[in-house]
């Protein structure tokens, strides 16, 4: 059929092509409109953040900010006392990075043990980890909060970083991946007299890189975007992360949309950049975890 189509298009170039391709073109056009609709809110956010107040409240919205002003961003910087956006940015970066590193370290060790080592209690332990994955995070919210209080971790970085690393997802994901790696290399290393630690470090970790990358991205995004936990576990303005911080611009009645959109842009641009950079891994990663689970 494909061949026939090609022959036909060669005979009657344009007209026939349009006639045959129109569903395809129509689909493309629809997709294009949908893509614009999906992107519009984000573009509007950036556009609003670059406008002076007089341009924000217009009866006819203007998409292109002209003249472009960074007034709202300046305003953000000026309010460091009540709304230290750059401190929040630092907190978010620091917390998400540390959280990701902790997850990678802890989960890869555990996944290696579950996938490659044999010891009594392995199966029941792993079953327990998997079973707890179905428990929604809200169930442990209050007890974890109380435990954090008992540890005197309230309003600290470790409270933001550590508890989230206890989930079973990473261990599960990495173990699945490790099970799929052939054992030849390990056995060769073993023959060379390498111990488990060396094998884990020199053989397994390099091989598991794709899965580690996926997990790193998920952990980072998860921590960066988390809302409920930082809301509960921090109280000082300086300890907030960006998502919690930006809600401070919602006034009692008046919301300063320009400043708020500037803050929202600051909170969003890093993840958008990260997404565009690691797009392939992210999408592969989701497919990987989605289909395996």
């Amino acid at each position: 059929m494909a061949v026939a189509a090609r022959i036909r298009t060669r005979k009657r170039p344009l007209g026939a092509m349009v006639a045959r391709e129109w569903p395809n073109l129509l689909a493309k056009a629809v997709l294009f409109v949908v893509a614009l609709v999906m992107l519009a809110p984000l573009l509007w956010m950036i556009s609003t953040s670059l406008k002076p107040e007089s341009e924000i409240f217009l009866n006819v919205p203007r998409w292109i900010p002209w003249p472009v002003t960074f007034h709202n961003y300046q305003e953000l910087a000026n309010r460091a006392g009540e709304a230290p956006v750059f401190r929040w940015l630092f907190n978010s970066v620091f917390v998400a990075t540390s959280h990701t590193m902790l997850v990678l370290f802890v989960d890869s060790l555990a996944a290696y043990a579950f996938a490659r080592l044999t010891f009594p209690g392995r199966e029941p332990l792993f079953m327990l980890v998997v079973a707890t994955m179905i428990i929604p995070g809200q169930v442990t919210l209050i007890p974890v909060f109380l435990i954090i209080q008992k540890l005197h971790w309230f309003n600290t970085y470790q409270a933001l970083i550590v508890p989230g690393a206890a989930g079973g997802f990473g261990v599960f994901l990495l173990r699945q991946f490790l099970l799929g790696i052939p054992r030849d290399l390990e056995e060769a290393a073993q023959l060379d007299g390498c111990g488990r630690w060396t094998i884990y470090w020199r053989v397994i970790l390099p091989l598991a890189r794709p899965a580690l990358a996926t997990l790193a991205i998920f952990s980072f995004l998860g921590s960066w975007n988390d809302f409920m936990w930082p809301l509960i576990i921090t109280n000082e303005i300086a300890m907030r992360t960006l998502p919690i911080g930006i809600t401070i611009f919602q006034g009692r009645y008046t919301t300063e949309y320009g400043v708020m959109m500037a803050a929202a842009t600051v909170a969003t641009l890093p993840v958008i950049l990260a997404f565009l950079l690691f797009q392939k891994q992210i999408i592969k990663g989701i497919a990987l975890s989605g289909l395996k689970a």
């Binding site: 689909a27 629809v30 997709l31 949908v34 893509a35 614009l36 999906m38 992107l39 809110p41 984000l42 956010m45 924000i56 802890v106 060790l109 555990a110 043990a113 490659r116 080592l117 044999t118 707890t132 428990i135 929604p136 809200q138 169930v139 442990t140 919210l141 209050i142 007890p143 974890v144 909060f145 435990i147 550590v162 206890a166 989930g167 054992r183 390990e186 056995e187 073993q190 390498c194 488990r196 975007n225 809302f227 409920m228 809301l231 960006l242 998502p243 919602q250 708020m260 929202a264 969003t268 993840v271 958008i272 997404f275 565009l276 797009q279 999408i283 989701i286 497919a287 989605g290 289909l291």
Partner: protein
């Protein structure tokens, strides 16, 4: 009975294993220690501790915390607001899960054939997923603004354009701006709409992976049998996609029942409790009314609800697979 034999069998294969040595097992466990430490302190401990608390009257300021049995559970089940929040959450799920998954599936079908613009489309559809719920909420608050919001503006402009039509136009009433977030009629639907915008790309990627995993030969065979594209979809794509569908639906339902950030930032459950969701209820009883025992009971009830829905879906969807 067979388990020890299997374990032994594996033991022989495992690297560096010298059977029977205590130190060996210890070394294996050393790999697990960091995770198990976190796991017991922040998962296993809390799950049991939470249940224990849920059986007590635990006001944070009170030092007297009596055991009350299942009174907190009974209290929640008799509480108007809890039931209202359950209904609201179900309503949210009913809006978001089928429609959201349909959109995701359509988007995935739209871009499953590789083309020049595929990457652009995929990125555009997926981009909202990586944004924090707080940003999504404040952004949509701006879009939903009754007087200055973009959405009301374009609806107004659209209605005005329709009014210019001959004959028909005269019957179309002037557009009155919709109070998206401040009317109990619209508020939950508005929350659902922004949630779909936020989440559509996530499921789309999973559907996309599912679609791309279907072997091309199936389609070729169907084509040889003379199936048109519609028939190909129902005879090949649909049955092949069922596991993916189940996966996405289950995760969507679980996600929908945990909706929190959007309502916390935008409406705090209002107006007239129309966006009061279960997790918001849990949060407010625990952290604004300081009744931790009660809130833990609510958390367990939430878990139960999610579990029931999940099992139900598995039951329904895997049944179909058998026929």
């Amino acid at each position: 009975m067979a388990a020890p034999a299997v374990a032994l069998e594996r033991k022989r294969k495992a690297p560096g294993m010298k059977p029977g040595r205590f130190r060996d097992v210890l070394e294996c466990y050393l790999f697990l220690v960091p995770y198990l430490l976190l796991f017991s302190v922040f998962v296993i401990g809390p799950v049991t501790y939470g249940f224990y608390i849920s059986l007590h009257d635990y006001h944070v300021l009170s030092t007297h915390r009596p055991f009350v049995g299942f009174a907190n559970y009974a209290g929640a089940l008799h509480d108007d607001l809890f039931l209202k929040s359950l209904i609201n959450t179900a309503y949210f799920a009913v809006m978001v899960v089928p429609l959201g998954n349909l959109i995701s599936l359509l988007l995935a079908l739209g871009i499953c054939k590789e083309g020049r613009l595929t990457t652009f489309f995929r990125s555009a559809f997926y981009l909202p997923v990586v944004i924090s719920v707080a940003v999504v909420a404040v952004l949509w608050q701006w879009l939903y603004s009754t007087q200055w919001g973009l959405i009301n503006y374009y609806l107004d402009a659209g209605a005005e354009a329709l009014r210019q039509l001959p004959l028909l136009g005269a019957h179309i009433p002037a557009y009155t701006p919709i109070p998206w977030l401040s009317s109990p009629r619209f508020a939950m639907a508005s929350i659902a709409l922004l949630s779909m915008w936020w989440g559509a790309g996530g499921n789309m990627i999973v559907y996309l992976a599912g679609l791309q995993a279907i072997p091309e030969t199936y389609y070729e065979a169907a084509t040889l049998d003379g199936a048109n594209s519609w028939q190909r979809f129902w005879s090949v794509t649909w049955p092949q996609l069922r596991p993916t569908l189940l996966f996405c639906l289950v995760l969507s339902v679980i996600g929908a029942f945990q909706v929190f950030g959007q309502v916390m930032v935008l409406t705090r459950g209002g107006p007239d409790f129309s966006t009061y969701t279960m997790v918001l209820y849990l949060y407010l009883t625990g952290f604004s009314l300081y009744k931790m025992g009660y809130a833990c009971a609510v958390a367990y009830l939430l878990f139960l609800v999610v579990l029931v829905f999940t099992l139900l879906q598995f039951r329904l969807l895997s049944f179909k697979e058998v026929d």
